[in-house]
């Protein structure tokens, strides 16, 4: 018996000591192991969707002319040696022509030199392919002409002056520079057809080279020893598809160096030995509830009792904004990591006016007053909101349901939480056949894409949702958004966005539930950690990190 106890105690002690050693010993030396949420769809800059997993890899293996630096929206040179400005003469006085000096000595992973012709080819290619899943519009909506003036000078002429060209087009993953030789040797450029070689390989000039992509398992990146800039310190391995709990366990065990997570896992990570929780900053993807002002007759679910012009009345939209329990969402699903975001311009984006009138606090009395004035208080209504299942969007929809139904027992919100593919199909309809839906916006570095896509009466969502049916003064809103996009005077531009925010408070087309906070976790042995929400998720440039 005594022997059994000795063995048992020895095992327990060994177990305890092993855990202690694990906390101190750097695992996977020489390799940064990042546990990602899901699989990339494509590695081709001409095909990748904004915010999709492929952008994570494209950021590391390709260069762009300019990049976002490590601390916010400041631009730093990439393959262009200088950030163009009117002062240095690389932006013409009329704001129509931009000149980029291409870095000499930069080489692609296939060994060919990077030249202005490659840059022109890369930009023209995405416009020529014009893939529906890609981001051709990032270039074609703003660029009139590209020109390789000589081997190392690239010039762009715009359709009209643009205040957002450098920090929305030039830095976008779609504008990454690919090797012309590699593309032409592997399928070339065909209008409307993806290039299978480029979808599965990467021939860029970035600090990493693609070593292997084992689907469902991992993506391996080797250090590019011929990189023109600071070489990466570690090779990188992106582990794909581990369950969120497994990612957290792997981080705690030291098997992963960085992981993608969300606020619901903070409690499991906080205080863990050898783990740092990074919670500084905010994501630039407001979580929003869309109001549909363009509902086709007979399209709504049979439970819905609202008329198709329900949201045409700004008082209804305001009432929803006043009724939402912002605190319940921020301190519930977001675990306190985030901010009440009153406007469509997120905190941290140029033009965000902290003094503009805001919602962001529940006001039941005001909501009741508006619902009464609109004539819905006594008889009530029933309306459905569609969302993806089992994520923050579904949580936001449930908070909306609680908020509205708590206000008046005659009000009914039906939350339709569906599979991602079902939601994407419903969401991509025009017109959308639901009165409301919940999702997040795409992140941008400039205010114009937010305003253009989400507020302009003729913009992407303005057209689909029929904003012109509801805005009190759609012409004025369109004029301000269009004007701000071409206004190069910073103060005037900021004033225009400030005015827009005041107008959109009175005439809201969205209910913005919150601006989610950053919750990244990494091992303490990771050095040089920097996180910039303007980089594609997980907002890390692996080449900056060591351990």
């Amino acid at each position: 018996m005594r022997n059994i106890l000795v063995v048992a105690y020895s095992i327990l002690l060994g177990l305890f000591l092993t855990v202690g050693v694990n906390a101190q010993t750097i695992k996977n030396p020489g390799v940064l192991v990042h546990a990602a949420d899901d699989e990339a769809t494509t590695l081709d800059p001409a095909q990748v969707e904004a915010g999709e997993g492929g952008e994570t890899v494209i950021l590391q293996v390709y260069d762009r002319l300019l990049e976002f630096g490590p601390s916010g929206p400041e631009l730093i040179p990439g393959l262009a040696t200088t950030v163009p400005s009117v002062e240095n003469g690389m932006i013409s006085d009329d704001g129509m022509t931009y000149t980029f000096e291409i870095r000499k000595g930069a080489v692609f992973h296939d060994g060919t030199d990077v030249t202005a012709e490659d840059v022109k080819f890369s930009w023209d290619r995405i416009v020529e392919m014009d893939l529906p899943e890609g981001q051709a519009g990032v270039i074609s909506d703003i660029v009139a002409e590209t020109q390789a003036v000589d081997d190392y000078t690239f010039q762009v002429t715009l359709l009209e002056p643009s205040a957002s060209f450098l920090n929305s087009t030039v830095v976008s993953m779609a504008a990454s520079i690919v090797s012309k030789d590699a593309v032409m040797a592997n399928g070339g450029v065909v209008e409307g057809e993806p290039n299978e070689y480029m979808a599965q390989n990467a021939v860029g000039s970035g600090p990493y080279k693609l070593k292997a992509w084992n689907r469902g398992e991992n993506i391996l990146l080797d250090i590019n020893e011929n990189y023109w800039g600071n070489k990466a310190k570690l090779a990188a391995r992106i582990e794909i598809g581990a369950e969120p709990d497994v990612r957290v366990l792997g981080l705690r065990a030291g098997n992963y160096d960085t992981i993608e997570t969300d606020p619901s896992f903070v409690a499991d990570i906080e205080g863990a030995d050898g783990v740092t929780l990074h919670t500084g900053g905010l994501l630039l993807e407001p979580i929003h509830v869309g109001f549909n002002l363009n509902i086709p007759e007979g399209a709504l679910p049979k439970e819905d009792t609202i008329p198709t012009d329900f949201f045409h009345d700004p008082r209804i939209r305001q009432a929803f904004n006043y009724a939402f329990d912002y605190e319940a969402f921020l301190y519930g699903p977001l675990a306190g990591f985030g901010e009440f975001n009153p406007h469509y311009l997120p905190i941290g984006i140029f033009g965000h006016d902290p003094d503009a009138p805001r919602y962001g606090a529940q006001d039941k009395a005001k909501a009741e007053e508006l619902f009464r004035a609109a004539g819905y208080w006594d008889n009530g209504f029933s309306v459905s909101v569609i969302t993806e299942e089992a994520n923050l969007f579904a949580d936001a929809a449930l908070v909306l349901k609680d908020s509205i139904e708590d206000l008046n027992p005659n009000f009914r919100i039906n939350v339709l939480a569906v599979a991602e593919a079902v939601f994407d199909e419903a969401h991509a309809q025009n017109p959308v056949e639901y009165a409301m839906w919940v999702k997040n916006a795409d992140p941008f570095a400039d205010p114009h894409p937010y305003m253009s896509a989400y507020q302009h009466p003729d913009g992407e969502w303005g057209e689909v949702h029929g904003f012109a049916n509801g805005y009190r003064n759609p012409e004025k809103i369109a004029e301000l958004i269009d004007g701000a996009s071409t206004e190069l005077d910073v103060k005037k531009r900021a004033a225009m966005y400030s005015e827009l925010q005041k107008m959109l408070f009175d005439d809201p087309m969205w209910l913005i539930t919150a601006q989610e906070g950053v919750t990244m976790a990494y091992r303490e042995w990771v050095t040089g950690f920097v996180h910039n929400p303007l980089w594609p998720r997980p907002s890390l440039r692996f080449s900056y990190l060591g351990k």
Partner: protein
């Protein structure tokens, strides 16, 4: 009718059955809605959605879509897996091999442990070792796989760091060719012992998690069969002839006790294949189960249809083989009596 004619007749019916199955599979998946969602992003304009529909022929009527699909299948094009971001035909063999490798490894764990434990317990009926094995067996049969798998993960991956998750060290995996898709076999064929050890090392945790439940069933069956055999007259006769207890057990009783156990082992393999879904998700094993679970959740119909068609055709062939065996064994089957 001759057996040969019977086989020919059955073989002629087989393509009709396969086409019928394909129509049913296609129709059933389409009842769940159009598969277009998996290819869309929320940024797409209606015109771009239409382009995507045209690219995948989803703008056509459903019967026409079926003909495009079956034409593709006949040419080896099983469609595009939105979950794997690759053609299904490229991914399926790799995932299938990974799952089979795991199921076989779990089967080896279950059979070797189950028979050993069952024999040990049966030979020591009602002794302390029998009771311990009974407890271990009942635990294996009653513990949910997901719970046991997470327990192993926490102890051996997180705390002790003894075993990895996933299928391989990517550098070792990349270093060898993969003619069979079975990492263990490929490593041996390549003569790369480090890769072989890596393959075994990655297999241990999921195989034990998956095999433990089956171990319990096999051990219980082996124990009770052995106890029955040990009570037979021939055992007493063998002992009376002076054969050693160990020889009687191993050469006579255990061999006979294996007959019903082998039947259970056969049935257990199906149980192991089902369990791979959970084990693959928890241990990040890149096999069919995990792929299929993601495909179902995300509505990846090309992947789902391939999997369902594959298993359907497999069953059709298995049934064919079984029927032929019956025909050999019982002529009345051929004569239609």
């Amino acid at each position: 009718m001759q057996i040969r004619d019977y086989i020919i007749r059955r073989l002629m019916i087989l393509p009709i059955l396969i086409i019928g199955t394909s129509i049913i599979v296609f129709a059933l998946t389409r009842i769940g809605g159009s598969p277009i969602g998996i290819y869309l992003s929320h940024e797409m304009s209606p015109a771009e959605v239409q382009e995507m529909k045209e690219r995948f022929h989803l703008d056509k009527p459903v019967p026409v879509q079926y003909f495009y699909w079956i034409k593709g299948v006949s040419q080896g094009d099983l469609g595009w897996s939105g979950v794997a971001s690759a053609p299904v035909v490229d991914v399926f063999p790799k995932k299938f091999a990974a799952t089979m490798e795991l199921a076989i490894a779990a089967g080896i764990v279950a059979v070797s442990l189950g028979i050993a434990m069952g024999t040990f317990a049966g030979a020591r009926r009602n002794k302390i070792s029998d009771h311990i094995i009974r407890v271990v067996s009942v635990s294996g049969a009653s513990m949910p796989l997901f719970w046991f798998a997470i327990l192993l993960l926490i102890i051996f991956w997180v705390w002790l760091g003894w075993f990895p998750i996933g299928r391989s060290d990517p550098n070792l995996f990349e270093a060898i060719p993969h003619p069979t898709g079975f990492y263990t076999i490929d490593a041996l064929l390549a003569g790369n012992f480090s890769a072989f050890r890596d393959a075994i090392w990655h297999l241990i945790m999921p195989a034990v998690a998956l095999g433990y439940g089956a171990t319990a069933i096999i051990a219980r069956m082996m124990r009770s069969s052995l106890i029955e055999e040990l009570q037979e007259d021939y055992v007493d006769a063998a002992k009376a002839k002076g054969l050693a207890e160990r020889v009687v057990l191993k050469k006579h009783a255990r061999r006979n006790a294996l007959v019903p156990t082998v039947t259970v082992i056969g049935l257990t393999f199906g149980f192991l294949l089902q369990g791979t879904v959970v084990a693959e998700i928890i241990f990040r094993w890149p096999g069919l189960g995990r792929w299929m679970a993601s495909a179902v959740l995300r509505g990846d119909q090309a992947t789902i249809m391939t999997y369902v068609m594959f298993t359907s055709i497999l069953f059709l062939f298995v049934n064919l083989v079984v029927d032929i065996i019956y025909a050999y064994l019982d002529r009345r089957v051929v004569l239609g009596d």
